[in-house]
């Protein structure tokens, strides 16, 4: 394996893991404080048991998120030293603010976890809110750095030199808002459906039904609302990418030939040789409409771009299809949940099984979405400024480091899953 490929795989692999840990660590505190709030309001012991059980989940995921995040902060430099040498000072600001937000989160978590029966009740609950808010702030700030790679601003690039650096402008890059909005909603959707699915499974198995129904309700409410809002954010993102990174949009849609009134492809198999998409459903004019709000607008095709500036079309196209497909599915599931609140008789075994099936879907969509944006940015590490292959470390043998990370992270994933299963088991055997 080439060094570049190994480095890209290692980065992708560690990010895929970190994203899961980070999202759960960022969203679960909100479930926890809602349950905590209900405990304080109703003094129903079930909510206390649930809060304490979720808090352990938060602690475990916070730490796995924190250590994988520490690893990433080093990996950026270890794998892409040339990138960090130039980009580090420019996009350092969101990272330093993220460090601050993360610090606040760690402090708040310290108060929350160890503050039971020691801190004043309301202040204790409030530290839970701080965990959630600073977690979301960290996420949004980190996305700013990724947004900059897609839409580099805040410097002048003259003769290979980065001059007149303006870190504030770099942080407020045009891609930031759309990406951060999309990611935050995705985190809530994915975590909401995942946690709800786990509790739905317990209800389905008739274990501690009262407790797990309450847990399901809290988690799915967050997930459903986010899933229903997500298409709006998706639309903003699509229009933004059409303007800023037309080649990425073309790859997402496997759209080879520039045309007016471009059709939207649903599904299909990409044939990169003949530049065709087979077995697809084509909706005439829809791509033009979605990208520019006009059925007749011209959408640039891949062939308008030099061959060495195009991403891997098949990967980007399939990932995009998966993301949109699952997003739509979860949107309907979210609506279904809100309707079912009025129709109690819907809560039968099939209903619970449906949500069990949906549990991993949000995260699959979220990872697919990141594959769209990251693979879609290639061959650039900084859009139109620096190529990924020019940023990679000169140290050979990265492939071994990649294997090591695969081994460690897979073990971690298995360990965390196993721990969660043990938590649930103990929860089911508890008195409340």
């Amino acid at each position: 394996m080439e060094n570049l490929d190994a480095a890209r795989l290692q980065m992708a692999f560690t990010l895929i893991f970190h994203i899961v840990f980070a999202c759960i660590g960022m969203v679960m505190p909100f479930f926890m404080v809602v349950s905590h709030y209900k405990w304080l309001k109703t003094r129903d012991k079930i909510y206390l048991t649930l809060t304490k059980s979720w808090q352990k989940g938060v602690a475990i995921f916070f730490v796995t998120g924190a250590v994988s995040g520490t690893a990433l902060s080093f990996e950026l430099g270890l794998l892409w030293p040339e990138f960090m040498k130039h980009a580090g000072p420019i996009i350092g600001m969101p990272f330093s603010l993220e460090g601050a937000a993360f610090f606040v989160e760690a402090i708040a978590l310290g108060f929350y976890l160890y503050g039971w029966n020691k801190l004043p009740e309301k202040f204790h609950w409030f530290t839970g809110i701080i965990i959630g808010l600073s977690g979301v702030a960290s996420g949004i700030l980190v996305v700013a750095a990724n947004g900059w790679m897609n839409s580099p601003t805040g410097f002048d690039y003259i003769d290979g030199q980065f001059l007149n650096i303006d870190p504030v402008k770099a942080m407020l890059n045009p891609a930031w808002f759309t990406q951060a909005l999309h990611m935050t909603l995705a985190a809530f959707t994915a975590t909401g459906f995942a946690v709800a699915g786990i509790h739905a499974f317990q209800v389905y198995k008739k274990r501690k039904v009262a407790l797990h129904k309450k847990a399901f309700k809290i988690a799915i409410t967050f997930g459903a609302i986010a899933a229903i809002l997500q298409p709006i954010s998706g639309d903003i993102s699509a229009k933004d990418i059409a303007k800023r990174q037309p080649v990425k949009l073309a790859a997402m849609e496997a759209h080879y030939h520039t045309e007016k009134g471009a059709p939207l492809y649903i599904g299909g198999v990409v044939d990169t040789k003949t530049q065709e998409v087979k077995y697809k459903i084509a909706l005439p004019g829809m791509l033009s409409f979605l990208a520019f709000g006009d059925f007749d607008a011209e959408v640039k095709g891949l062939n308008d771009f030099p061959e060495d500036e195009r991403p891997n079309v098949a990967i980007v196209h399939y990932a995009f299809q998966i993301m949109v497909g699952i997003g739509t599915l979860l949107l309907f599931a979210g609506i279904l949940y809100f309707i079912s609140l009025k129709r109690k008789k819907w809560f039968n075994n099939k209903y619970w099984l449906l949500f069990v099936f949906l549990a991993p879907m949000g995260f699959i969509a979220l990872e697919a979405g990141w594959i769209v944006t990251e693979v879609g940015r290639q061959p650039w590490i900084i859009h139109k400024i620096m190529r990924t292959k020019d940023a990679v470390t000169p140290m050979p043998g990265i492939v071994f480091s990649f294997y090591m990370y695969v081994a460690v992270y897979l073990t971690l994933a298995i360990a965390v899953t196993w721990l969660m299963l043990r938590q649930i088991k103990v929860l089911n055997n508890s008195n409340h």
Binding site: V63, V67, I107, Y114, I165, D166, P167
Partner: protein, 345 residues
């Protein structure tokens, strides 16, 4: 503004060495304890470190972020030439953090605890050794700076800078220092009988620190090591070093009299003086390479970047430091409360 950034750089380096160091040291102390004492130590570590250990380790992230933003060229040398030891450090940080949480948050207590404990103790020892080796490599004068790194052999570029006697000695020195810090911390956190164990540990750690330090100097003197020679000729460095050694006397007195806060202050001050001595002997040339030294101050990011970073650090510091202080203080109070209630945990 550059001085604000430099202040935070050294400030977070120091806090990481002291807080993170005490944290690593806890695992080292546990590793070198009898089976019964391990159980006591494990409980004490959880009580003392539990609320704060995550915060302790964020200092290294702050440190690394300041380095890459403000001193990109310096950071570049680190991540390219010291790729291997840094990767091992990361592995250690990951396994250690995970093991700590697993052993305290696993809902079921069974044999898997042994695995978590083992992971925690071993990585607590390995990580600071490699961290020390990285620092040793930066001042060790074995890094070769060339225009095209591919002209060097793999060994010259990626192994020799850190895999040498001097770096390994610095690594051992740092690990012993961690054990020393942690022992002093644990003395104040335990009952009279138990505290004797930690006093003994603190003594052993002090002796090891001293011996490793001495060997480093003798080795450096005999083999004409750049850093050691400069260190020995630098009056500031020597003064700091002697002061740090002299502080052992008030440290011993305060420990004997049971003055917890004061004894920690002296231990912290000792480490600060050691760090200062190591930094000052070449300052501002913080990386010592084979051919020349690389000045921290000559390889800085543009003014606009430093200005914004300085402001962010001041704002961040204003938010974080009071919170952190409050956290440390709250749980000290709680500990006293717990003693009154015969301790529930």
């Amino acid at each position: 503004m550059l001085y604000v950034v430099l202040f935070f750089l050294i400030f977070s380096l120091y806090l990481y060495v002291v807080l993170g160091g005490a944290d690593y040291g806890a695992g080292i102390v546990e590793l070198f304890s009898s089976e019964e004492n391990q159980k006591i130590t494990k409980k004490t570590i959880y009580r003392v470190m539990g609320p704060v250990w995550e915060a302790n380790h964020i200092w290294i992230i702050i440190l690394i972020v300041i380095l890459w933003i403000a001193f990109p060229a310096y950071y570049n040398i680190m991540v390219v030439n010291l790729h291997i030891p840094l990767t091992i450090v990361l592995l250690g940080v990951t396994l250690r953090g995970v093991a700590f949480v697993f052993r305290h948050y696993d809902a079921v207590i069974d044999n898997s605890q042994k695995l978590y404990d083992g992971m925690f103790k071993i990585s607590s020892l390995i990580t600071p050794i490699f961290l020390g080796m990285v620092f040793g490599a930066l001042i060790g004068g074995k890094i070769k700076i060339v225009d095209d790194i591919s002209t060097l052999t793999f060994y010259e570029a990626f192994i020799r800078p850190w895999f040498n006697v001097f770096s390994i000695l610095v690594g051992l020195f740092f690990a012993a220092l961690c054990a020393f810090l942690s022992s002093v911390l644990l003395i104040g956190e335990s009952e009279k009988e138990v505290s004797k164990i930690y006093i003994r540990k603190a003594n052993i750690a002090t002796v090891i620190v001293f011996i490793v330090g001495l060997i480093t100097f003798i080795y450096g003197y005999v083999f004409e090591h750049v850093f050691v020679q400069d260190f020995l000729q630098n009056n500031y460095a020597l003064t700091f070093m002697l002061l740090s050694g002299g502080l052992l006397i008030p440290l011993r007195i305060t420990i004997r009299k049971g003055r917890r806060v004061l004894s920690r202050f002296f231990a912290g001050l000792q480490v600060f003086l050691i760090l200062l001595a190591a930094l000052v002997s070449h300052f501002p040339d913080i990386i010592v390479t084979e051919t020349s030294s690389i000045s921290l101050l000559e390889n800085i990011a543009p003014d606009s970047v430093i200005k914004v970073l300085g402001i962010s650090l001041i704002i961040g510091g204003a938010i974080i430091l009071p919170g952190l202080f409050h956290l440390l203080k709250s749980f000290k109070m709680i500990k006293i409360l717990e003693q009154h209630n015969n301790r529930s945990i």
